[in-house]
C-alpha cells in the first residue's frame, strides 16, 4: 500500500480533512480518512455518499480499502447544547452528559446522581428526542450511567454464593467489602425477595438465604485463580476457624 500516493489522490478531491490520512489501526491495507461534513437545510450531507464512493474506488485501485470517520462540525454544538439542557432541566438528577453522533443518530450519555423513576426517565427521554429533532437527526439513543456502584442481581448472587447461608446483614457487609454502594438494608431485603421469586435463591431457616441449583448452573464457574469455587472454599474455611 503506497500511502503517499493515496494521500496525493485524496488531496485531489479537496475534501475538508479533519486529520492526517493514516493507516487504519484495525484493518490491514486500509487507510483511515477523517472528514468534516456539513448538512444543508434539507439534511443532505456534504461531501455526498457519491463522492465518498468515488474516492473509495480510487483508493481501491492502489490495493487498499478506506475507513471514513465523518465528523459533523455543527454537531459539536450539539454536545454542549445537550449537556446544558439536561443539567439545567434536571439539576437534581443529571450530574453530567456527553453526546456523540454516529450515522445521524445521537448517542446521549447521562450520568445520574441518584436512582430515577420510570417517569423521570421518560421526561429525560423526551428532552433528548426534542433535541435530536432540532438538530435534524434521525434519532437518539439514551444511555444512563451512574458514578455510584450498585450491585446488579448477578453481582448480588455472586456475593451470596461466596458466603451462603447468609442473612441481610451478612450480605450488606459482603457487598460493602466489594466496594458496592448499599442504599439500605431494606434494599437488600427487596433484592432477596426479587431473586427468591425468580427461583434463583431459597430461604433457609432463621432468615438465611442460599443459591438454588438453577442459579449456580446459570452463574457457572471459571478455571482460574478467580474461580468462585475456590473463593467459596476459602470463605468456608475461614468460617470454620
Amino acid at each position: 500500500m503506497d500511502l503517499d500516493e493515496i494521500r496525493r489522490e485524496i488531496a485531489k478531491f479537496n475534501l475538508p480533512l479533519a486529520g492526517s490520512v493514516v493507516p487504519s489501526p484495525t484493518v490491514e491495507n486500509c487507510v483511515l480518512v477523517s472528514i468534516y461534513t456539513i448538512r444543508d437545510d434539507r439534511g443532505r450531507r456534504s461531501p455526498s455518499g457519491k463522492t465518498l464512493s468515488e474516492l473509495r474506488g480510487v483508493i481501491a485501485s492502489y490495493g487498499a480499502d478506506v475507513e471514513y470517520l465523518l465528523i459533523d462540525e455543527a454537531l459539536s454544538e450539539l454536545e454542549d447544547g445537550c449537556r446544558t439542557s439536561l443539567v439545567n432541566s434536571f439539576p437534581d438528577i443529571v450530574r453530567n452528559s456527553y453526546t456523540t453522533v454516529l450515522d445521524g443518530v445521537a448517542n446521549v450519555w447521562v450520568e445520574k446522581k441518584r436512582d430515577i423513576s420510570i417517569e423521570e426517565n421518560t421526561k429525560i427521554r423526551e428532552l433528548v428526542d426534542n433535541i435530536s429533532r432540532v438538530y435534524k437527526l434521525r434519532g437518539a439513543i439514551l444511555r444512563v450511567t451512574s458514578d455510584f456502584r450498585i450491585a446488579t442481581p448477578t453481582e448480588f448472587l455472586r456475593a451470596l454464593r461466596k458466603i451462603a447461608p447468609a442473612d441481610c446483614e451478612d450480605l450488606d457487609k459482603e457487598l460493602r467489602t466489594r466496594n458496592f454502594s448499599v442504599p439500605s438494608l431494606q434494599w437488600v431485603n427487596h433484592r432477596l425477595d426479587m431473586l427468591r421469586k425468580q427461583g434463583l435463591i431459597v430461604r433457609i431457616a432463621a432468615g438465611h438465604y442460599a443459591l438454588t441449583a438453577v442459579a449456580l448452573q446459570k452463574l457457572g464457574t471459571v478455571k482460574s485463580r478467580q474461580s468462585p469455587d475456590v473463593i467459596r472454599l476459602l470463605a468456608l474455611a475461614r468460617r470454620e476457624r
Partner: protein
C-alpha cells in the same frame, strides 16, 4: 480491587501509583491549556503561535491517551506497552470480547441491569475507540505535517488545525474520562467472582 485480578503486589502498586498517575494526567491537561492560551496571545506572530498551538493539540491527545492506557494497564499490565495505533484494536478485541460473552450469560439469567451495563460498556468501547482514532489523526498532523498550519478564527478565543478546533481537542480528555468509567464498570462486572 473488583475485577482487577492479580496478586497482592500488583494491587499495592496500583494503589500507590494511581494518585501519581492522576496528577500526571491533570498536569498534562494544564500544560495543554497553557499552550492554547499562549498560542492565542502570540497570534500576531504566525510562526510562534503555530508552534504553541500544535503542541497544545499534541498534549490534549496525550492526556486522553494516558487515561485510556491507565485503564488498559489496570485490566492487564501487558497492555501498558501497546503502541498508540493498536489501542483501538485492543479495545475492540480483547476488552470487548469478555464483556460480550458475559452479556450472553446474564441474558440467560434475565438480569436487565447487568445487560444494560454491558451494552453501555460495549457502546463506550466503540466511542472511545473513535475518539482516540480521531485524536491520533490530528496529533499526527500536529507532529509530522509542519506545512499544515494552525488557523486562527475571527474571534480571539479559538484556533484550528485541519478544521479541528482546540475546543474539540480539549473535550478529548473529558470524553476519555467519561467513557473509560463506563468501560471499567462493564469490565469489572464481567470479571467479578
Amino acid at each position: 480491587m473488583q475485577g482487577g485480578g492479580g496478586g497482592r503486589g500488583r494491587l499495592w502498586v496500583q494503589g500507590v501509583a494511581s494518585n501519581t498517575r492522576t496528577q500526571y494526567r491533570n498536569a498534562m491537561e494544564e500544560v495543554a491549556q497553557f499552550l492554547s492560551v499562549r498560542a492565542l496571545e502570540l497570534r500576531n506572530d504566525e510562526a510562534q503561535a503555530d508552534l504553541f498551538g500544535r503542541s497544545a493539540f499534541n498534549r490534549y491527545y496525550y492526556a486522553a491517551y494516558l487515561i485510556t492506557r491507565d485503564m488498559l494497564t489496570d485490566f492487564d499490565r501487558n497492555w501498558r506497552s501497546t503502541p498508540h495505533a493498536k489501542i483501538p484494536e485492543i479495545l475492540n478485541g480483547s476488552v470487548k470480547k469478555p464483556i460480550n460473552n458475559f452479556k450472553r450469560m446474564v441474558t440467560k439469567l434475565g438480569d436487565s441491569e447487568s445487560i444494560s451495563i454491558c451494552s453501555n460498556a460495549i457502546s463506550g468501547i466503540s466511542e472511545l475507540s473513535n475518539v482516540l482514532v480521531s485524536a491520533y489523526s490530528i496529533r499526527v498532523t500536529a507532529d509530522y505535517d509542519p506545512d499544515v498550519l494552525i488557523e486562527f478564527g475571527e474571534g480571539v478565543s479559538s484556533f484550528k488545525l485541519r478544521s479541528t478546533s482546540v475546543g474539540v481537542a480539549r473535550n478529548w480528555t473529558e470524553q476519555a474520562r467519561f467513557l473509560t468509567g463506563v468501560v471499567r464498570r462493564g469490565w469489572n462486572l464481567a470479571h467479578g467472582s
